[in-house]
């Protein structure tokens, strides 16, 4: 496969300087335009659905789409490229967050204004993405999480209640992979501090909150998963391990979420 040769002086025409990791947070972040953003889709063995998701995002936002292939054994990358996405192929499986971070680092390196992430399995509907952008513009936030509270099971509700108390973050759905990050959030998440996190939920949100970034939620419709299953809520031992890891992480970072609340109150 040959790609056409483009000007080597700048990989993207509108190359902006990436923001430094400790970038000052403007009080009211500017509204993001979908065309300046990069859609990052972490995917592992999602060849069945990835092409539809890529096509849907391109139709809905008209932005560049990057599929991060988390060491798939099927032809996820090839199908994503055929559908018009760029793709990163991770040589080692890094998990959902490791793959998303690769996409975020790519966006940081190439100066995209924002990153929108969604799952490759089709549970996040591309036509709900503009709602994240309008929520970002309306609230002036750095991060918008798309949540579908009606979809949460009783066990999940209980777990999230526990995490809300533990972290001090007021978030309805911690694990939703449907998110919009602005430039400051990208700069914060591209750094090495975020590389040892195993899940994209609590650790990532606490890191963002610690940097003083505003996190908002937008209610969206979601589909039940067509293929695959939740990586977190797979079986009881996995849930137990997840809750234990998350609890330790929260206790180590106990000040993170609460500092955020204090700043907002002030």
């Amino acid at each position: 496969m040959r790609t056409q040769r483009i000007d080597p002086s700048g990989i993207r025409p509108q190359n902006r300087r990436p923001l430094p990791p400790g970038c000052p947070v403007p009080p009211n972040p500017a509204p993001l335009r979908p065309a300046d953003c990069l859609a990052v889709i972490p995917a592992r063995d999602e060849a069945a659905t990835v092409a539809d998701v890529v096509a849907g995002v391109r139709a809905s936002l008209g932005c560049e789409v990057l599929v991060v292939d988390d060491a798939s054994r099927d032809d996820t990358s090839a199908r994503a490229r055929a559908a018009g996405a760029s793709s990163l192929r991770l040589p080692l499986g890094l998990g959902a967050w490791g793959a998303s971070q690769a996409g975020i680092r790519y966006a940081h390196r190439h100066g995209f204004a924002g990153v929108v992430t969604l799952d490759a399995d089709g549970q996040h509907l591309p036509d709900t993405l503009p709602a994240l952008f309008s929520a970002q513009a309306a609230t002036g936030s750095n991060v918008v999480i798309g949540t579908c509270t009606g979809r949460l099971s009783r066990a999940k509700r209980l777990a999230w209640q526990y995490l809300r108390v533990l972290t001090g973050l007021r978030i309805a759905d911690f694990t939703s992979g449907l998110r919009l990050y602005d430039g400051c959030a990208i700069a914060a998440l591209a750094g090495p501090e975020a590389s040892l996190l195993d899940y994209q939920d609590v650790g990532v949100l606490m890191l963002l909150s610690k940097r003083g970034l505003r996190i908002e939620e937008a209610p969206v419709r979601m589909m039940p998963r067509r293929t695959g299953h939740s990586r977190v809520f797979a079986s009881w031992p996995v849930v137990a391990k997840y809750m234990l890891h998350t609890t330790v992480l929260c206790l180590a970072q106990i000040d993170a979420g609460r500092g955020h609340e204090r700043r907002r109150a002030a």
Binding site: M1, G98, Q101, R109, S195
Partner: protein
Amino acid sequence: MTWQITSAVLGVALAATILFLVRRDHLHGPYAVWWLGVATATLVLGLFPSTVAWLGRATGIGYAPVLPIIIGLSLVLIRMLKLDVDRSKQERRLRRLTQKLAILEQEIERLGGRTAVESDASEDD
């Protein structure tokens, strides 16, 4: 007399093994320093077991033989802790390298360089 011989043999054997590994370059940089220290300690304690009794008197511990055990165990714990810290650091680097590799590969391809996508897949594992 025999326990002194046993102690000397154990101490000398351990120290010799460590020295051999360090000389053969199987232990790298800072690890070599640590293990040379351990080798010296086992050599001294093995050849002169009376140092234990002297240490016991000096520190006021009534039952001196427990002293090397306590010191040894604490050192092992510290060492294990250090090992996990190092492993976390390596894991972070490995993840970032993996991500960077994928990004650079994509950029090479975009710039029109040839990356052998087909042969790549067969090289994995």
